[in-house]
C-alpha cells in the first residue's frame, strides 16, 4: 500500500452534490460527497444500488448531460478545479489523463464500429501515433485484457462479443493512454473470477508502472479487499463511512456498513436465506432530512432526526451512535 498522505491528492472532491429536477420532484442523487485520492492510491466506493456512485463519477468528468441536472461543489484534479470547465477544456483530460470504465458494458460501445476502430479513435485523439501504430497498440491492449486471438477479434463488432468481452474492450480503451487517474465503475461485474483476477492485476500494474490512482466502484467486497487502500461507503447520495480498507471492513462503524458486510454470500457456507437489510430501498424523492438510513436502521434514536455530522480523523463516519454504544451493539449481535 502506497498511501502518501503528504503529497497533494490527485483527485479531491469537496461537497459534490448533483440533483435532478424531475416531474415527481427533486432527486438528490449525490448529496455532499467529499473524498480525496492520493497519487498511486486505490480508492474503493461501495454502496447501495442507486446511491449516486455512478452519477458522482459522471459529474466529475462533466458527463452528466441531463438538462435538469444541477451540480455544485468542487472537483480538483491535480490541483486544478475542473468542475464546470467546458467541453473544450475537458477534452485532453477525458480519456487522456482520466480514463473511465463504464458500468454497463453492453451499451457502452457504438454498435456500428468495430471495437478496434473505437480503441484506435481514443488513442489517436490523445497521441501522435499513426493509424497502424494505434491499431497495433489496440491489439496489444485487447490481448492484455484476455481477448483470445486479438489480432482477428480487433475487427469484430461489439454485438459479436459476449458481455464480459465488451466490458474488457471498455477497460482496454480506458487504459489505452495510461491515465493518471482511472475511474472504474463496476469494472468486473460481467467477468468470471479468473478473468476478474486478470483485470485486477492489470489495474494494479497500471498503478505500479505509471503510479496512477484508481477509483473503483464495486459491489464485490472481495474486490475491495483485494484492491482498495481506502474505502468510502455511500448511502442515498451521502458518504456515511470512509477510511482505510482494513479498518472499514474489520471494524465497520455505520449500521448500514454492518448490514452490507453481513449480506455478502460466502462461498464456504450455505444458509437458507441471505441476511438482508430490513426495509425497502429508499426512494430518492423523499430522503429524510436527518440520517438517510434512519428509516431502515435497527438502532434509531431521537438524535437521528437530525443529520449526523461527518466525524473527523482517518476513519470517518456519519452516525449518532457513540463508540461505546457501537461496541456494545456489535458484541450483542455476534
Amino acid at each position: 500500500m502506497s498511501t502518501n498522505e503528504h503529497a497533494a491528492p490527485v483527485l479531491e472532491l469537496t461537497d459534490l452534490s448533483v440533483s435532478f429536477s424531475t416531474r415527481q420532484g427533486l432527486i438528490r442523487a449525490v448529496d455532499g460527497l467529499s473524498l480525496s485520492v492520493g497519487r498511486g492510491e486505490v480508492h474503493g466506493i461501495v454502496g447501495e444500488s442507486g446511491s449516486g456512485k455512478s452519477v458522482a463519477m459522471y459529474s466529475l468528468l462533466g458527463l452528466t448531460r441531463d438538462a435538469n441536472a444541477s451540480i455544485t461543489g468542487s472537483v480538483r484534479f491535480e490541483g486544478r478545479e475542473i468542475l464546470g470547465s467546458g467541453d473544450k477544456a475537458m477534452q485532453p483530460i477525458r480519456g487522456g489523463e482520466i480514463g473511465m470504465i463504464f458500468q454497463d458494458p453492453m451499451t457502452a460501445l457504438t454498435p456500428v464500429y468495430t471495437v478496434g476502430w473505437q480503441i484506435v479513435e481514443q488513442i489517436r485523439q490523445h497521441t501522435d501515433l499513426t493509424k497502424a501504430q494505434a491499431k497495433a497498440r489496440a491489439i496489444e491492449l485487447l490481448g492484455e485484457v484476455g481477448i483470445p486471438d486479438a489480432k482477428r477479434r480487433v475487427d469484430s463488432y461489439p454485438h459479436e462479443f459476449s458481455g464480459g468481452m465488451r466490458q474488457r474492450v471498455v477497460i482496454a480503451m480506458a487504459m489505452s493512454c495510461n491515465p493518471k487517474l482511472l475511474i472504474a465503475d463496476e469494472p468486473t461485474t460481467a467477468l468470471d473470477v479468473t478473468t476478474q483476477a486478470q483485470i485486477l492485476d492489470l489495474m494494479s500494474r497500471l498503478r505500479d508502472v505509471h503510479n496512477s490512482s484508481i477509483v473503483i466502484i464495486t459491489h464485490d467486497m472481495g474486490v475491495i479487499a483485494e484492491m482498495a487502500d481506502r474505502v468510502t461507503v455511500m448511502y442515498a447520495g451521502r458518504p456515511i463511512e470512509a477510511g482505510p480498507e482494513l479498518d472499514v471492513v474489520r471494524h465497520p462503524r455505520h449500521p448500514y456498513t454492518w448490514g452490507l458486510l453481513g449480506a455478502v454470500p460466502r462461498i464456504g457456507e450455505r444458509s437458507e436465506r441471505l441476511a438482508t437489510i430490513a426495509g425497502n430501498v429508499m426512494s430518492p424523492l423523499d430522503v429524510p432530512v436527518g440520517c438517510a438510513f434512519a428509516p431502515r436502521c435497527a438502532y434509531v434514536m431521537d438524535e437521528c432526526a437530525a443529520r449526523p455530522p461527518w466525524s473527523d480523523g482517518d476513519h470517518r463516519s456519519a452516525c449518532w451512535l457513540s463508540d461505546t454504544q457501537r461496541v456494545a451493539l456489535r458484541r450483542k449481535e455476534s
Binding site: I93, G95, F102, D104, A108, V112, Q122, H159, M173, A174
Partner: protein, 322 residues
C-alpha cells in the same frame, strides 16, 4: 455481403413479378368486365374491339394472356394506346421518366442537404433559441401545400418580380443532354419547391433520432474518450441515426419517382410521370395506366431493395442476421 445483395435483388425481382401479376389480374381479369372494351377505351368501334381481342389473345387462357401482355409491354415495347390512337406506351413513359427523375434527384439532393444540416444544427443546439426556430421552420415547411407554394413561386418569379428574375426561362423542361445549364435553370425552382416540403420532415426526424442517440450510453463513452463535440455528433450519433433517414428516404424517393410529385409537375408545367398517370386516368387509357403502375412499382421496389442493402451496410447487426 455480396451474397446478401444478390439475394435481395432476386427477392426484389420476385416482388416485381408478383406486382405485375396482380396488376394484370386487376386490369384484365376482373370478372364481368370485357377487357377489350377497357383497353380500347370509351366508345370504340367493333373492329377495334376485335383487333384488341386478337392482339392480347383475350380468348386464350390467362397465363398466355399475361405472357402476351408482358411481351408487348416489356420486350416488344409496342403496346399502344387506343385512346390517343397510335401513341405507343413505352416511349411515353421513357419520355416522361427523365423529367421526373431530374426533378426528384435534384430536389432530393437539396432536401437531404438541408434536412441533415437542419437536424444536426438543431440537435447540437438543444435548448438554445436556434433549435425551436429550426423545428418551427420545419413544421411550417411541411404544412405548406405543394400546389400553393409552387404557384406563389411562379407568381413571384414569372409575374410580380419578373424583372428581377429575367434570367429565368419560362416554365418547361430542357433535357440535360441538350444543355445542362438550361436544364438546371428550368428546374431550379421546382427543386426548391419540392425540397422545401421534404427538408422540414427530414430535419425533424433527424433531430429526434439524434437527440435519442445523444442520450445513449455510447455517446457518453465517446465523450469520456475526450472526443470533440462535433466528432461525437457526426461520427457517433449521426452515423447511428442514419438508418432512420435512409429508410424514410427510400420510401419517399420511390413514391415520388413513381408519380407522387404530380402537383409540382403540374404547377411547373413538367410533363413527368405524375402528369402522364394523371392524364391517362382522366382518359381511362388502360395500357398507359398499366405501364405507369408497373413503372412506379419498379422504382418503389428498387428503392426498398437499395434501402435494405444500405441498411446492412450501415448496421453490422443487420448484416450478421442474414
Amino acid at each position: 455481403m455480396l451474397l446478401f445483395i444478390v439475394r435481395r435483388l432476386i427477392s426484389a425481382f420476385l416482388v416485381m413479378f408478383s406486382i405485375s401479376v396482380v396488376v394484370f389480374l386487376i386490369f384484365f381479369a376482373t370478372p364481368g368486365v370485357n377487357p377489350a372494351a377497357r383497353i380500347a377505351g370509351r366508345s370504340a368501334s367493333p373492329e377495334v374491339l376485335a383487333h384488341v381481342a386478337a392482339e392480347f389473345g383475350l380468348n386464350r387462357p390467362l397465363p398466355i394472356r399475361y405472357g402476351l401482355m408482358m411481351w408487348h409491354l416489356l420486350f416488344q415495347q409496342d403496346l399502344t394506346s387506343y385512346v390517343n390512337i397510335g401513341v405507343k406506351v413505352i416511349p411515353q413513359i421513357t419520355g416522361a421518366a427523365p423529367i421526373t427523375l431530374s426533378l426528384i434527384v435534384g430536389a432530393a439532393v437539396l432536401w437531404l442537404l438541408a434536412g441533415v444540416a437542419g437536424g444536426l444544427v438543431a440537435a447540437a443546439n438543444r435548448g438554445k433559441w436556434i433549435d425551436p426556430l429550426i423545428m418551427f421552420g420545419g413544421i411550417a415547411a411541411v404544412s405548406i401545400p405543394a400546389y400553393w407554394l409552387g404557384e406563389v413561386v411562379n407568381l413571384v418569379t414569372q409575374n410580380k418580380f419578373h424583372s428581377l428574375f429575367s434570367w429565368l426561362p419560362a416554365p418547361g423542361y430542357v433535357s440535360i443532354t441538350q444543355s445542362p445549364w438550361q436544364w438546371a435553370l428550368h428546374l431550379i425552382f421546382p427543386w426548391i419547391t419540392l425540397a422545401t416540403l421534404y427538408a422540414g420532415v427530414y430535419a425533424r426526424v433527424l433531430r429526434a433520432e439524434l437527440v435519442n442517440a445523444l442520450n445513449e450510453d455510447y455517446v457518453r463513452t465517446a465523450r469520456a474518450k475526450g472526443l470533440s463535440e462535433r466528432r461525437i455528433l457526426v461520427k457517433h450519433a449521426l452515423r447511428c441515426s442514419l438508418v432512420a433517414i435512409v429508410s424514410l428516404f427510400g420510401l419517399d424517393f420511390g413514391s415520388l419517382v413513381g408519380g407522387a410529385a404530380l402537383l409540382t409537375e403540374v404547377v411547373f408545367g413538367l410533363n413527368g410521370i405524375g402528369m402522364l398517370t394523371y392524364n391517362s386516368l382522366l382518359n381511362l387509357d388502360l395500357p398507359v395506366i398499366m405501364g405507369c403502375v408497373m413503372y412506379g412499382a419498379f422504382f418503389i421496389v428498387l428503392a426498398s431493395a437499395v434501402v435494405d442493402v444500405l441498411y446492412a451496410f450501415l448496421d453490422p447487426r443487420v448484416r450478421s442476421v442474414h
